[in-house]
Symmetry: T
Subunit: 69 residues, 12 copies
């Protein structure tokens, strides 16, 4: 464990449903190019409003993954 090096990247996921779902979408998109994801950290929560309603949530996360040795 102590030899691991993590790289972290920052993504913003969107969802019409909830904050949790926006994070899930960001992780699903990252999974297309990144392997060995281990953790995430929420760094910001925003959203768009249309006709006085929340159109979608936008949650920004840092995602950490181990680099191949």
């Amino acid at each position: 464990m102590s030899d691991n090096v993590y790289k972290s990247i920052e993504l913003t996921g969107s969802s019409e449903v909830s904050q949790e779902d926006a994070v899930r979408k960001a992780i699903a998109a990252a999974a297309k190019t990144v392997k060995h994801m281990r953790w995430f950290k929420v760094t910001g929560t925003r959203g768009h409003i249309e006709n006085n309603e929340i159109a979608h949530w936008q949650v920004t996360v840092k995602i950490g993954f181990t680099l191949d040795n």
Copy 2:
């Protein structure tokens, strides 16, 4: 688009249910006096505890709206 000027105001919504619902209540209250709301940004999440349970969530948001030209 590039001529827009946004004003932002800060409100705190409360909900017994969830963070998302507290934001929705803040936006609904703002809609009574503000038009053309476009975005929000969460700036803080707190809550009250009664009898060892969450009594309600309090989520503070900045809400941005375009000024009439």
Copy 3:
């Protein structure tokens, strides 16, 4: 009311379900040793990823309670 002194402690709750549930678990654990809890404040939201899915949410909260006079 104005004579109250609050102490605040920091806990991190975990949940496979949602951010709200992670906060609930932190408060439930605090209730075993602390009385008179009044408020909480979210100070960080993280989580673990396994097999490209969110394994669990970790939400850190400060919890404030009144000291017995």
Copy 4:
């Protein structure tokens, strides 16, 4: 209580006497146009110097008030 929505505004009060008095002046000025004020939070403390003495204190506060339902 859980249905309340708070709006917060930011003011800076001045006083030749003390920090407490500067906050009082900000709240007194807000009272001319805002009802149902509930809390304040100090966000900055500055002041002016004249002839090597403090000419006046300037304390900035966010003031929260409940919106009429």
Copy 5:
């Protein structure tokens, strides 16, 4: 001078030209409803990109003005 109370509001101005011009547009928009503006403070600088070029700058400012006594 020491009896002044300032209120501050937050606006975001846009400009295709420069940061300075975006601030000017925010102040011009505020001038339609606010009197006695005295200072501003830049709290964020963002912008939009279209076709690999800066489409416009968005500068957020807090604007302080004295309240009528």
Copy 6:
């Protein structure tokens, strides 16, 4: 001196009179259970408003004390 280990705890004191008095009340309450207090650091100043007046100040402090060796 160089062998000391400090622990710090966070309390919020309240006072109808002044910020200084609110800090004093927090320290007095801590003294009931903690020994060897050495320093404090103000981390936040808030208050409640009733009838357009400051009902009481709430000052949050971190208090550091040496652990018995």
Copy 7:
């Protein structure tokens, strides 16, 4: 729109002329490897001094772009 996932990267552009030009150079460099850039956010402004003059500005920006679906 609500299905977009943004990735953000951080670059620092340099210019002898102005802050705006330094941001433009960062975006032009990013355009060589990244598509679908949508927004930027200034996160720091520094510069070098030679012979008591500004030799060049260094502006750091986060740049957001949509990931291909």
Copy 8:
């Protein structure tokens, strides 16, 4: 006015009495070597505790003064 250049320095004043008095002592000490002081800004408030009482307040201020042209 627009040609002024300010330099700011940071000092910490101590007082057994109050926060205001600690700032006054910092400004009085600065006055021995600095001319044309114009403003101050509080950047931190700490203190020492002896025998469960506040022994003295320590308030850190940035002090701005105009440079001679």
Copy 9:
């Protein structure tokens, strides 16, 4: 793992030797009363100077430990 609740406490360790040694001393002191420590996070590094030399380092850490279920 996902059922864990962590509590975090803040300590400051001192060492004449190095930053690492100061953290070690804080953890050793915490071990006298706390079980199941899992992680630490450095939140500040200070020190004392005597006769123009570093007399000792003071490193503040948050230490997280799992609560017994």
Copy 10:
């Protein structure tokens, strides 16, 4: 290079024209008493408003210079 020690000072320059010009004025003023300036870092941007127009920009910079060995 690795033996250098930098000292940094903080100045605020003013300009009726632009942010860049305000920084230039701060550096020119510093050059009267400081040698070997190497870098600057913008730490704040404010300004004054008169008659609904920007009267001047005030940009605060930290300036680093090498100490003579």
Copy 11:
């Protein structure tokens, strides 16, 4: 020099020995895929505790490198 554009990435290195060694491991891992590294900046220091001892240090760094022109 003034035409350089830097990109920065964030990595976390681990070491059983020291903070310095953890940074070295992060840089060594980055060197496998990145050329022209010029600087780093520490953005966080954490670690794991096992049996009341520091099992390893985890230091997060931003690493800046010049993009090929």
Copy 12:
């Protein structure tokens, strides 16, 4: 003790060896012009990379010293 006024200055020391050594070099340089140094506080840690190795560490410290009465 309670009558002391501290001034703080900011320096950055460099070392090829370690963070601790970089702080020592900053304090040694300050000792040439400043008397009565009492404390330091680390405010940033950076470094230069050459040929994929750490060329030197750069640690920025605030140093506090008492003013002569």
